[in-house]
Symmetry: D2
Subunit: 141 residues, 4 copies
């Protein structure tokens, strides 16, 4: 298992007239969390794209347990339970400063060749970087 | 069953550098589709809120089958398979002009009293408006 | 002078916790207005880009006179006072249903060659399409 | 004069299909910069709102000199040249990591009583906090 945490301040742009973070804006929070998680390993998504592979989202799920509000300093915990293969699945938990769980989510991304548009599987470099976090006997799902 | 279709033009603001509609922006498309669906029945969410009930999102799921692209004229079909009760569940199918299915989604919203913050169930007016679409003998899936 | 009007419904995604349309979201409204204005002439920005020219924004100004609110059906009037040359300048007026002026804005865009990144001036086709709206004797303001 | 700098990483959500940060998204960058600037003084906009004053945007201007791109680590420098009175005017300069100036902007906000909707002038606490940055002999414009 690999996990990472990022901290994000809710700004006015994130809120809606309910005074909640608009439900569609969690996609941005998740994106930042998973990209910073990969960056913490030394992996650059920007370089991956420059080298010809992109990672479009295939599936996204969110559960909104309690509202996040303006000025909340959120912690987004992102977890990889399986090493990436054809897909990579990130799970999230979003907490406020009082460590109340506000939101859970899951995003599945695929690896696609930019030119052909065809799925290609996780790049070797990413698999290698994540290997230490997944014990030898774990069987990828 | 109740269903409704809206048409939305993808603008630059919706796209990301992949040339796709950013995955987080479908929340907006779904919102417009379900609100216009209710409006087509004569139901105003704005009035519902003014009368003290709001409808926060509890759960949202999206599957991204094919990219929506800049200038695509999308059709968002929204379906209610069950009459609203404590929750209301909207399902979506997003098509491009060639009627290719690009995206499917599902949003569950709850009815909450604005002052108390407590769940209250669907308003009688909405239940009444939707009644004709749900025949007595329909068996809930 | 060339002008065009579009109608846009304010959705929840547009609002912030003040109950106003977030100031940054007018950029989207302006974009839709100017692109639909060009479309009404038979001009496709998508085709322009495909042919190698893009139109990045050089300058944008907005004045927020009164708030736009959730569910408002806005009219965005867009005006071209001068034929496009190296730049094209769109002016906007945003009204609510009661025809109260809520917002004024102005966007200056340039024409850039996608490959070289260099400014190239308005495409001949666009100049030709707009010519009938700018009489020979009009004196530039 | 009072100035402050914040650092922001451009994410996918910020970009458009040109591979640039969408012009409308600078409003969010400016908001974060000015709110963090006030926070650095010990001033909380959240508390100001809770106490009955809100700060809607009256005017916003942006000039886009060079594109900001995905993964850029931006520096947003925000400057107050005058102490706040009926209005407060923030100026911005946005730089990339190579310290190239990408964007300049200016936002004018007003102080409004939440209940009456009437302008009220800057709160005494904010004026007091900013006083040390404006020498006695400076003449407000």
């Amino acid at each position: 298992m690999f996990s990472h945490e990022v901290h994000l301040r809710v700004c006015y742009a994130d809120t809606d007239q309910m005074g909640y973070v608009y439900y569609g804006n969690y996609g941005r929070f998740y994106e930042i969390a998973r990209m910073e998680a990969l960056r913490s390993l030394g992996f650059s998504y920007k370089e991956l794209e420059a080298a010809g592979t992109m990672m479009p989202v295939y599936e996204n799920k969110s559960r909104y347990l309690r509202p996040a509000r303006y000025d909340d300093l959120l912690t987004v915990k992102v977890v990889l339970r399986q090493p990436p293969a054809v897909r990579i699945v990130f799970e999230y938990e979003v907490y406020n400063e009082g460590r109340t769980l506000l939101n859970t989510g899951e995003t599945t991304l695929v690896f696609v060749n930019r030119k052909s548009g065809r799925p290609g599987g996780a790049p070797a470099e990413l698999i290698r970087m994540l290997q230490p976090f997944f014990a030898a006997r774990e069987i990828p799902g």
